[in-house]
């Protein structure tokens, strides 16, 4: 093979960071829509208010969800073993997410087509499920990644899985699921608060402030559990960062508090949890000051910090195995080939800036408050 300008270790690190960026991208962008969906029955009390919320996220939610599609695609292309093990291992959880996500496009599109209260109320609940269930299950999944999943790899690297869906619902995983729900509700609330008026905005501020406090409390609690109580994983053999991806070539130990080890070795990483807590606190403050745009930035910062905390704590692990710790997937042994990572990086460097540019442009075109009056003017409103 011809030599590539970037060595394998660097490419693996870049793709680890890019995976984080894509998942954070989804949590921030798609999180707005999941949060609004979760808040739909609580914040919007009648059809008119609900239409305001749906038309608030309506023009942009489809683009936002592509961050998830892209995250899935990036895991497939850059971390095939991770894609194979996690998607099949968490099978029923994935089905729950998919069924919830299926309700969203049709919910948005179909709800407004028929003027009947029962019809609309049914889709409202569909959209609530479509927001709440993914928010919860993604968080539960992250908790299970920290706990380790009961999978094994046979000598030809075929994954097998020894758990079931209910095995995912441990107390710690439910805690991380709640962190996720709180954080995304906060994100939905700041968007509603900054782009609607009157009673809607007021209710969103109240829910948003509670969600911000819940985010701080639950995230801090999860942090304490991870540091003082939870078993983490540690690679005890030397891993060749330039070697072929073979997850069976290392030794891993289980150790209480090991997920905190990276912060001891690299104190700068403390920035991530600090941003998580500070962002949520600022979102709480800005909501109180009715500073909508700043609350969105604060809440997005909190999401960035919280998701990054999970990723940094795990590093270099992507998915530890509780069944056979030495078969855990890490950044150094579960990536695609050097050439594939290089090609994919090229495609990302070309297209990601373009995506950011046109996404920003679309949000700019659609900027401004959404009210009953503004919807009335739009012939395609939901």
């Amino acid at each position: 093979m011809t030599a590539l300008p970037l060595d394998y270790e660097i490419l693996r690190l870049i793709w680890w960071a890019l995976l984080g960026i894509l998942l954070i991208g989804f949590a921030i962008m798609g999180g707005m829509d999941l949060g609004v969906g979760t808040l739909l029955p609580a914040v919007a009390r009648n059809d008119e208010e609900r239409r305001v919320l749906l038309n608030l996220v309506g023009p942009t939610w489809e683009g936002n969800q592509v961050w998830l599609v892209l995250g899935g695609g990036a895991i497939f292309a850059a971390w095939p073993p991770l894609y194979a093990v996690s998607f099949s291992g968490f099978y029923i959880a994935m089905i729950a997410i998919l069924l919830a996500l299926i309700l969203r496009p049709v919910g948005f599109k179909f709800r407004g087509k028929v003027d009947d209260p029962r019809w609309r109320s049914a889709w409202d609940w569909g959209l609530f499920v479509g927001g709440f269930v993914p928010a919860l299950v993604f968080g539960v999944a992250v908790g299970n990644v920290l706990l380790g999943a009961p999978f094994g790899l046979d000598p030809v690297l075929r994954p097998s899985y020894a758990g079931n869906f209910f095995g995912l619902l441990t107390p710690f995983a439910i805690l991380t699921g709640l962190v996720s729900v709180a954080m995304l509700v906060m994100q939905g609330a700041v968007v509603i608060a900054s782009r609607t008026e009157g009673a809607l905005a007021k209710r969103a501020r109240i829910y948003g402030r509670w969600a911000a406090l819940a985010t701080i409390g639950l995230f801090a609690l999860a942090g304490l559990v991870v540091v003082f109580w939870l078993d983490g994983y540690r690679v005890v053999s030397v891993q060749d960062a330039l070697g072929p991806s073979n997850p069976l070539g290392k030794t891993v130990m289980i150790e209480r508090g090991a997920w905190a080890a990276n912060y001891g070795a690299h104190p700068w990483m403390m920035i991530a949890p600090a941003l998580g807590l500070a962002g949520a606190w600022l979102a709480y403050t800005f909501l109180g000051l009715k500073a909508g745009a700043r609350a969105i930035i604060a809440s997005s910062t909190a999401i960035f910090g919280i998701v990054a905390t999970a990723g940094l704590s795990l590093f270099p692990f992507l998915l530890p195995s509780s069944l056979d710790p030495s078969a855990s997937l890490t950044v150094w042994d579960a990536s695609s080939s050097q050439l594939t990572l290089f090609i994919m990086l090229g495609a990302t460097i070309v297209f990601l800036p373009i995506i950011l540019l046109y996404t920003a442009w679309v949000f700019r075109v659609m900027r401004g408050p959404v009210t009953t009056a503004s919807i009335g003017r739009n012939p395609n409103a939901y």
């Binding site: 073993p81 049709v106 407004g112 030809v156 990302t348 659609m366 395609n380």
Partner: protein, 536 residues
């Protein structure tokens, strides 16, 4: 050993969810382009009727697009969920075009589709037209990358098996992109989508003309549909993806099966129009057109197309050769520094997948008996008769549409769209046919690829996830119930929209109907026949 029930249920689920998804995809491909054409005419001529057309077809497009998005994300996730070993084994190659599809195409389409609906009063005319074209472009790029991925499953070029990672890896990405099978599939599939869109627009417009409603809109829509449809129908048949079928061994097997051609024939082979199988499954009564098959598949007079029997014999030798590769691979795994084994593996690795066919009969394939090898070689034959008939249904519908659109194009150019009610009724009655053609087309392509999931590389049964029976029962029944309910709702909503028809005014209290946005001057609209729904 792999549990065959899990494999069968996984295959059923993938086939069912893919076929549901492909109800919506072709319409998205075709309608988005036609909307872009209509809006271009609006921007160039400034005549509001063309905007009204864009809005009306856009409403139907939106309902369909929502279903496409809902069923599409399932497709992406199912590779990992149900085909974990596939994902590991070929993710290095197959994942890349899927990820690039997201980066280059789906992001574009999904970001701008919102502006298509919500941007009418926020963008300039040219600005909105650009958005519409970007949606159409995104949809088509999306098809390109998905079919590059799919084409690689049919003809796995540009890659090799790496014994150290136990998987296929990219060696030449340019070859993956310009894979002749992928390119032929892309042209064929998007053309089929355009035909679907054209038939949809033409059929509904014909209904309006029969009812005497919205004639201005219907007639213009029919002109667009007839021209667009004729070009697409020619493209879908002439550039059919048989042209890629000679590329590989199993593609040849597929064409032999489609033709029920059990024995090699002298070139150029004849095309079987009709046949009846005998007790052994071989054709006993045939109606044949001489030369035609050889011409359309090989584009030559002297290239021979092998028959099923000859291909099975050849598969048996590849299995023998694959067993050498399998043994060498085992040696390399035991001792990565074994250079002799690596040399042997390099020479034989192209047949490794054939040895895996034996995994269906025994775990220790190196001890396979001659009888098991013969069975595995015979496994390379896909089910002949479903393919034979699927192919014929698809081709018949394709040919029908060339005649259909040629006739409508001729009527449109003579401005006599409304004088023949029988033809209008035919257009309405045949509206579902493109969907029949595209679905049987996928059966030919994917069922015909069996027993391989990646031809010559990985057998389908060997690629499935380690799931439990009840996992699949739950997922399969959920998908089928939810998809069917949603499909029913979608069809009902589309009928409502068609009944209400295009209008200048809101039809529902909450309205997704195309209204004419406050324009500087009232449009010089042609007289429109009011309808009861309209008056409501």
């Amino acid at each position: 050993m792999i549990d065959q029930t899990i494999v069968d249920l996984s295959r059923l689920q993938f086939a069912a969810t893919a076929m549901y998804h492909f109800i919506f995809v072709p319409l998205t491909l075709g309608l988005s382009f036609m909307m872009a054409i209509m809006e271009s005419v609006y921007v160039m001529t400034g005549r509001p009727i063309w905007r009204q057309m864009t809005l009306f077809w856009g409403t139907l497009f939106g309902i369909n697009f929502a279903m496409g998005v809902a069923t599409g994300i399932v497709m992406e996730f199912q590779f990992g969920m149900n085909w974990a070993y596939y994902s590991h084994y070929v993710g290095d190659v197959f994942g890349a075009p899927l990820a690039i599809e997201g980066l280059m195409a789906f992001f574009l389409e999904a970001t701008f589709v919102g502006l298509f609906f919500f941007g009418w009063d926020r963008l300039s005319k040219v600005g909105h037209l650009t958005v519409t074209w970007l949606v159409a472009l995104g949809a088509n790029f999306s098809a390109l990358w998905i079919l590059i991925a799919n084409g690689w499953m049919q003809n796995p070029v540009g890659s090799r098996f790496n014994p150290d990672t136990m998987r296929m890896e990219i060696t030449d990405f340019i070859a993956v992109i310009f894979n002749p099978v992928a390119q032929a599939k892309f042209v064929h599939t998007v053309s089929a989508g355009y035909v679907t869109g054209a038939v949809f627009v033409l059929g509904i417009s014909a209904l309006f003309l029969l009812q005497g409603r919205h004639r201005e809109l219907a007639r213009r829509s029919m002109v667009v549909a007839a021209s667009f449809g004729l070009a697409s129908a020619l493209s879908v048949v002439v550039l059919g993806d048989e042209s890629g079928y000679v590329a590989t061994e199993h593609q040849k097997m597929k064409i032999a099966a489609m033709e029920a051609m059990y024995h090699t024939e002298p070139a150029p082979a004849g095309l079987t129009l009709f046949a009846i199988p005998n007790a052994d499954g071989e054709p006993s009564f045939e109606v044949r057109l001489p030369w035609v098959l050889g011409l359309i598949t090989t584009r030559s007079l002297d290239m021979e197309l092998p028959g099923i029997t000859e291909l099975v014999e050849h598969a048996a030798t590849r299995i023998q050769n694959g067993l050498v590769a399998y043994q060498a691979l085992a040696d390399i795994r035991a001792n990565p520094d074994d250079q002799t084994a690596r040399t042997v593996f390099e020479e034989t690795s192209q047949d490794l997948g054939y040895a895996l066919l034996l995994k269906r009969y025994r775990e220790d394939v190196e001890n396979a008996t001659g009888e098991e090898i013969a069975l595995a070689a015979f496994d390379t034959v896909p089910d002949v008769w479903p393919l034979f008939w699927s192919f014929r249904i698809m081709v018949a519908i394709g040919l029908f549409y060339i005649g259909f659109f040629a006739l409508w194009f001729w009527k449109a150019s003579r401005h006599r769209l409304e004088d023949n009610r029988a033809m209008l009724w035919t257009a309405v009655a045949t509206l579902p046919l493109p969907w029949v053609a595209v679905e049987v087309g996928w059966i030919v392509a994917e069922y015909g690829r069996q027993p391989w999931v990646v031809e010559g590389v990985l057998p389908t049964f060997y690629a499935a996830s380690d799931l439990r029976f009840w996992d699949l029962v739950i997922s399969l029944s959920f998908f089928m119930i939810v998809y069917t309910v949603l499909l029913g709702i979608m069809a009902w909503l589309m009928v409502r929209v068609v009944r209400a028809g295009p209008s200048d005014k809101p039809v529902f209290a909450i309205d997704d109907e195309p209204a004419i946005i406050p324009a500087p001057a009232p449009p010089p609209a042609a007289p429109r026949t009011p309808t009861p729904e309209f008056a409501k």
